[in-house]
Amino acid sequence: MDLPRLETILSRYEGEPWDLIPVLQDIQDSYSYLPKDELQVVSERLNVPLTQIYSVATFFKMFSLIPKGKHQIKVCTGTTCHLKGSHRVAESLSHRLGVEVGYTTKDMQFSLDTVGCLGSCAQAPVMMVDDKYYGRTTVDKVPKILKLYK
């Protein structure tokens, strides 16, 4: 376990139970997932039972218990994007990357997920790679977008 890394994250907070979600977010960002041993330490430090951490970690889509790829692709399947055919974008990505939605490529480069509304409905269909938004995506644009990260 990378204790110094975890300590750095924990040191940003007061160590109260309500720090749980921000702490988990930081761990997710830093490790690309929530490692079990780290969660055990978080449980002791924040005084939150492991059961509750597990509940939170499995409830939110932003958290993952298995390592995510270097780049995280999120295809919006919110109402607007759905109507604008975002499932086709997701299918195309899945095809090109050779990975099913919800999984990570073997080389750990890309994780592909679908999410609820990304809050940019005017640009539907929307997808995100890491922190960057791609609006009005079409199946044609998929290879060009992927190329930027390969």
Partner: protein, 252 residues
């Protein structure tokens, strides 16, 4: 009927007494006490599935809904989590309420078509079949969370919790592995209204949540008392030596 808990005697004065009406009857009750308890104390029966008097209400099942306010501005709320307030106008059996309860039961029937308790409750409300899709015909868990709350609040160890979100939500141990916090007491299996938590006892070993617990026999009569682990937990709580608990209740 099994689910009726009408012995609401615990009159815990949470706040000062306020006046409200339930089904047109003027009533006095302590402020902030749940509407469910207020109604039951006054003889209005409200069906529930996830309420337990010894546990905090979390409003999972939605069967306890009541209508508050005056027509046409009424609102449907969970009575188990809604506080008693001065001037409230409450309906426990209006057409809107009954319809909402039937819907809840239809949904539950679709989730757990084989659960006897749900079948009975649904039938009592005139619901015999569901228009919704059943994912797993063998499913018995209604996600009431009584097990999770009992473990956390009464036993005080928190070995299980809800995992994931609907439609894949389920009761589980952390990481679906053997829960180190579990003391093998079986309270979750005991409290479960649909008896879905697997639990076996054989040759002095109790198996629950994938873990085996050695049972302690009574030093006097030889009958099994409880898992050794649980007795150690008690000893830790009370500060007594663990041997104090090696004699069963009947032999003391």
């Amino acid at each position: 009927m099994v689910w009726k808990i009408s012995d609401e005697t615990a009159y815990d004065t949470l706040g000062e007494e306020v006046r409200l009406t339930i089904n047109g009857v003027p009533i006095r009750a302590p402020q902030d006490q749940s509407l469910l308890v207020t109604a039951r104390q006054n003889g209005f029966e409200i069906p529930t599935l996830c309420y337990h008097r010894d546990l905090p209400s979390e409003g999972h099942c939605r069967l306890c809904v009541v209508e508050i306010g005056e027509y046409p501005r009424t609102q449907i709320v969970n009575s188990c989590t809604y506080p008693t307030q001065a001037g409230l106008v409450v309906q426990t059996h209006s057409e809107t309420v009954l319809q909402a309860r039937r819907l809840v039961l239809e949904l539950l029937l679709a989730r757990t078509p084989k659960a006897k308790l749900i079948q009975e409750m649904a039938a009592a409300h005139g619901v015999y079949e569901s228009r919704f899709k059943t994912d797993d015909p063998e499913e018995l868990c209604i996600l009431c969370g009584l097990c999770v709350r009992t473990c956390r609040e009464v036993v005080g160890v928190s070995a299980i919790s809800m995992k994931g979100r609907t439609p894949d939500k389920q009761v589980a141990t952390p990481f679906m592995e053997k829960s180190p916090a579990c003391i093998g007491c079986g309270s979750c299996a005991f409290v479960c209204p649909t008896n879905v938590i697997p639990y076996t006892e054989k040759d002095g070993v109790r198996t629950i949540w994938g873990r085996d617990f050695e049972l302690q026999a009574c030093n006097v009569c030889g009958n099994y008392i409880a898992p050794k682990y649980q007795l150690e937990h008690w000893a830790k709580l009370t500060g007594d030596p663990v041997e104090t608990f090696f004699v069963c209740r009947d032999c003391r």
